[in-house]
C-alpha cells in the first residue's frame, strides 16, 4: 500500500538548544520503520523524473523499491553502481533542486525524502560492515594518478578501481577527504563516515599518498614520466576570496576556509588539540551559501552568544541548502539579509571591534537569474562583533597551473576541459570538480570525477 501522506516522514534531529553546544550530528537519520514508511510514499514512476535530475543518475525508484522489500543490501548495491559516496551524498546533496525537485509527489505536497532514504541505506550497510564484492576484479595494469582526495577524486578513483585500474591518490594535507574533511563540519557530515568511505576505496585497492603537493613536491609532467598513463586533477577550489574592504587584516577576521579548517581538520575546538582558534562572543559571517551556514553554526558551537549571517540579497536567494538555513535559524543564528559589509573596524590592539554594513535592495535579475542587490544610500550601520568570517567563495589554486605550462585555464584559474570527457588541453590529463567550475557542490564534483573516469576507461581499456 502506498503511503499517501503529503508530508515527508519526520526524521529525528537533535534539539536545537542542545545541538548548538555540541559538534555531534544534527540529523539523526531514519530507523528501519521510518525508512519503510517513507519508501512507501514513492510511486515508482516509470519515467523516473528523480533519476533524471540526479547528477550521477542513481536508479532511485529501484533502490527505494528494495527498501520497501527490506532488501537493504541490494538497495545499497543499486546506489553504489552510480555513486561511490552514498553516505556522504545522502547528507550533503542539495536534494531539493535535484532528485527531490523532480519528484511527482512534490507537485501536491512534499517530495519523497530521497536524501534521507539514501542515507539510511548507506548507514545501514556501513554499520553491518558488508564487504564489497569488487575484491576479485582483474587488474588491467594501467596506473592512474588522482590529484586530490576530495569528492571528485574519490569518485573518479572508485570508478577506475571497479574497472581494474590501479589508482594512486595524492593529497596535500595530512588527512584524506578534501573538503569533506576540512570543510564540512562534523555535525553535518561525521568524519567517521568519510573515513569509512575512504577505507572502502582502500579496500578496493586505492593507494593514498598524503603530504604530497602536486605542482610542488611532484609536477603533473613528472607523474606522467613516472609511468602513470593518465592523471585526473581534482584539486578543488581552495583559494579563499576576500572582500577587499578596509579592516580585513585585523586579528579576528578569518576566511571561512581557515576557520573551518582549524575546527574540522585541526580540531581546535577540542581542549587537547594544539591548534588555536579565536573564540568570540559576537561573530559576523559574510555570505549566504552552505559554507556560511557551516561557519556560523560552528561559531555558535564554540560558545558565541550572537552569530549574524550577513547576506546582500534576501533569504529567498540564499544559495545554501534549505535544510541548512532552517537548522541555522533554529539554532539561534541571526540572519541579516539585504545588508552588505563596507568596512571592519578594529580596536587599539588590532582586533575586530565591529563591522560596518550598508542596507541593500533588490533590483532586476542579473545573469545568474537572481535579483541584483544595490546599495541604499546613507543607510550605514555598525554591528558590534569581535570576529568576522568571510564565506564569499573560493577560486582554484594556481599551483598546478603555474607548474604545468601546457594546461589551459580560464582567466580566473578554472581548468578548461572538454565537457563530455573531462579531458584538458594536455594529453592524458583530465580534470573535474571545483578545479574546473570554481566552488560548487559535492555531487557535481562527483559527477565530474565519474565522467572523467568513464573517458579514461574507454581510452585505456581498449589497449
Amino acid at each position: 500500500m502506498p503511503n499517501m501522506s503529503l508530508k515527508k516522514t519526520y526524521m529525528p534531529v537533535q534539539n536545537p538548544n542542545e545541538r548548538n553546544k555540541n559538534f555531534k550530528e544534527v540529523a539523526l537519520g531514519y530507523n528501519e520503520e521510518q525508512a519503510i514508511n517513507e519508501a512507501n510514499r514513492c510511486l515508482n514512476c516509470k519515467n523516473k523524473p528523480c533519476s533524471l535530475k540526479c547528477p550521477v543518475s542513481i536508479n532511485i525508484p529501484a533502490f527505494i523499491e528494495k527498501i520497501k522489500e527490506k532488501k537493504y543490501e541490494e538497495a545499497y548495491n543499486i546506489i553504489k553502481m552510480s555513486s561511490s559516496l552514498p553516505a556522504v551524498c545522502g547528507r550533503v546533496c542539495p536534494q531539493e533542486t535535484q532528485c527531490e525537485g523532480g519528484c511527482v509527489r512534490g507537485i501536491k505536497g512534499e517530495s519523497v525524502s530521497i536524501g534521507r532514504l539514501e542515507r539510511f541505506v548507506a548507514d545501514y550497510n556501513n554499520s553491518k560492515n558488508i564487504k564489497n564484492s569488487y575484491n576479485k576484479i582483474k587488474k588491467n595494469g594501467v596506473n592512474v594518478a588522482i590529484v586530490g582526495s576530495g569528492p571528485s577524486g574519490l569518485s573518479c578513483a572508485g570508478e577506475l578501481l571497479k574497472n581494474g585500474f590501479s589508482v594512486t591518490i595524492f593529497e596535500a594535507l595530512h588527512k584524506a577527504g578534501g573538503v569533506l574533511i576540512y570543510g564540512i563540519p562534523e555535525f553535518r557530515l561525521p568524519k567517521a563516515i568519510v573515513e569509512k568511505e575512504i577505507e572502502n576505496l582502500i579496500n578496493l585497492g586505492a593507494n593514498i599518498e598524503k603530504n604530497v603537493v602536486i605542482g610542488s613536491t611532484i609536477t603533473i609532467d613528472e607523474l606522467l614520466k613516472q609511468g602513470f598513463k593518465a592523471v585526473f586533477i581534482g584539486s578543488g577550489a581552495g583559494l579563499p576570496k576576500f572582500m577587499n574592504i578596509k579592516g580585513e587584516s585585523l586579528n579576528g577576521v578569518y576566511s571561512a576556509n581557515e576557520f573551518l579548517t582549524r575546527i574540522n581538520l585541526m580540531k581546535a575546538n577540542e581542549e587537547d588539540f594544539a591548534t588555536p582558534i579565536y573564540k568570540a562572543k559576537n561573530v559576523a559571517v559574510i555570505g549566504g551559501g552552505n559554507v556560511a551556514m557551516d561557519a556560523a553554526r560552528c561559531a555558535k558551537r564554540l560558545g558565541a552568544e550572537n552569530v549574524y549571517i550577513i547576506y546582500r540579497r534576501s533569504e529567498k536567494e540564499m544559495p545554501a541548502r534549505l535544510e541548512e538555513v532552517e537548522h541555522a535559524k533554529q539554532e539561534g543564528i541571526i540572519l541579516k539579509t539585504l545588508c552588505n559589509p563596507v568596512e571592519i573596524h578594529g580596536d587599539e590592539r588590532f582586533f575586530v571591534k565591529s563591522v560596518e554594513c550598508v542596507e541593500m535592495m533588490l533590483s532586476d535579475p542579473d545573469e545568474s537569474g537572481r535579483r541584483r542587490p544595490v546599495e541604499k544610500q546613507n543607510t550605514n550601520f555598525k554591528i558590534d562583533v569581535e570576529c568576522v568570517i568571510t564565506a564569499i567563495g573560493t577560486s582554484p589554486n594556481p599551483l598546478i597551473k603555474n607548474t604545468t605550462p601546457d594546461l589551459n585555464t580560464k582567466s580566473w584559474g578554472g581548468i578548461i576541459i572538454d565537457s563530455s570527457t573531462g579531458l584538458t588541453s594536455k594529453e592524458n590529463v583530465y580534470a573535474g570538480g571545483d578545479a574546473v567550475t570554481g566552488s560548487a557542490t559535492v555531487i557535481l564534483a562527483m559527477q565530474a570525477g565519474k565522467l572523467a573516469a568513464k573517458a579514461i576507461i574507454e581510452k585505456f581499456s581498449l589497449n
Binding site: T217, G238, L239, A274, P276, N397, P398
Partner: protein, 282 residues
C-alpha cells in the same frame, strides 16, 4: 612518517635536525619551506629549509624553541619520527641575477639566510653577511657563514661577541662609510629587524628582499591566514612568497597579525613544559 637522522643542539634554544624526506630534498630550493606536524593532536607549523642534500634525500631544519610545538619537536631525538612533513612550499628565492649582495640575518633567521649565502657564494657572487644576535650564547652558524662570505660581520646587542650594536648599524657603515654598492639587500629575521633594514635601504634606494613567516595552516593557499599587505594588496605569504619586496611590505600590520594567538601560545607552552616536567620526574 619522517625520520630524524641527525640532531645537533646549536645552543640552549636552537636546534638543527636532518630529516629523511627524499621527495622534498629532490625539489627544494633556497627560500622554500616545509610544514610539519609532530603528532595526531599537533598543530601544523611552517619552517624554512636550512639545507638539503638531493643525493642522500635529506633536508635540514633549524628551529628555535618559541612555543609548545617547537618545544615538543626539540624533545625528539635521532631515529624518532615526525608524523607529517610536507613541501617544498612557497616560491624559491630569486637569486640568479645577483652579483653582489648584503645578506642580513637576525637570530634564528640566520638559518634561512645561510643556504642563500651558500648558494650565492657557489655562483661566485660577492656576499657580505651581517648577522645579529642578542648575546654571545645565541650565536649560530658563525663558521658556516664565514666560509661562504666575502665579508662577515657579527653583531650582538650587548657586545658579548663581535661588534656591539644592531645589524642596521653595520649595514649603514658598509653602504655609507665603505661605499659598497649592492645589487640587493636580503634581510631575514625578526619583523622589527627587517622593518628597520628596509627603512635604511629605502633611504639609499637599494632593492631589498625580506622573507616573511606569518601564521599559517596548510601552506598551499587554502586558509588565507598568512595574508600580508604588499603595496596595498593582500598577498598570501605561502604561495605568493615567502619572499617579498621589503619596501612594499606593511610591517606594522604583519607585526600585529603575528600576535593574534599570543595568549593561547603562552598557555600551551606552559602546559607542555609542565607535562614534560612531570614525565621527566616519572
Amino acid at each position: 612518517m619522517f625520520k630524524i637522522l641527525q640532531k645537533k643542539v646549536l645552543h640552549e634554544t636552537v636546534t638543527l635536525m636532518k630529516i629523511d624526506a627524499p621527495n622534498i630534498a629532490k625539489k627544494v630550493k633556497p627560500g622554500q619551506f616545509i610544514i610539519l606536524r609532530i603528532n595526531e593532536k599537533g598543530e601544523r607549523i611552517p619552517l624554512t629549509v636550512a639545507d638539503f642534500n638531493r643525493e642522500s634525500g635529506t633536508i635540514t631544519i633549524i628551529f628555535q624553541v618559541v612555543g609548545s610545538t617547537t618545544k615538543l619537536l626539540n624533545e625528539l631525538n635521532e631515529n624518532d619520527n615526525i608524523l607529517d612533513v610536507v613541501g617544498p612550499l612557497g616560491k624559491a628565492s630569486k637569486l640568479d641575477d645577483i652579483k653582489k649582495v648584503a645578506l642580513i640575518g637576525g637570530g634564528v633567521g640566520c638559518a634561512i639566510a645561510y643556504p642563500i649565502a651558500k648558494y650565492l657564494n657557489g655562483k661566485k657572487a660577492i656576499v657580505h653577511t651581517i648577522v645579529g644576535f642578542r648575546n654571545k650564547s645565541l650565536v649560530i652558524l658563525k663558521n658556516e657563514f664565514e666560509r661562504v662570505s666575502n665579508k662577515f660581520i657579527l653583531t650582538t646587542d650587548d657586545g658579548s661577541c663581535g661588534e656591539k650594536g644592531l645589524v642596521t648599524d653595520a649595514l649603514k657603515r658598509l653602504i655609507v662609510d665603505c661605499g659598497e654598492n649592492y645589487d640587493e639587500v636580503i634581510a631575514i629575521g625578526p619583523l622589527v629587524m627587517m622593518k628597520f633594514v628596509c627603512k635604511l635601504t629605502k633611504k639609499y634606494n637599494i632593492k631589498t628582499t625580506v622573507s616573511m613567516n606569518p601564521i599559517m595552516i596548510d601552506g598551499t593557499g587554502m586558509c588565507g591566514g598568512c595574508r600580508i599587505i604588499v603595496d596595498g594588496q593582500t598577498r598570501f605569504a605561502c604561495v605568493d612568497g615567502p619572499d617579498f619586496d621589503g619596501h612594499k611590505v606593511d610591517f606594522n600590520t604583519a607585526i600585529e597579525r603575528n600576535r593574534m594567538y599570543v595568549e593561547h601560545e603562552k598557555r600551551e607552552y606552559d602546559k607542555t613544559c609542565n607535562l614534560l616536567k612531570r614525565s621527566n620526574i616519572k
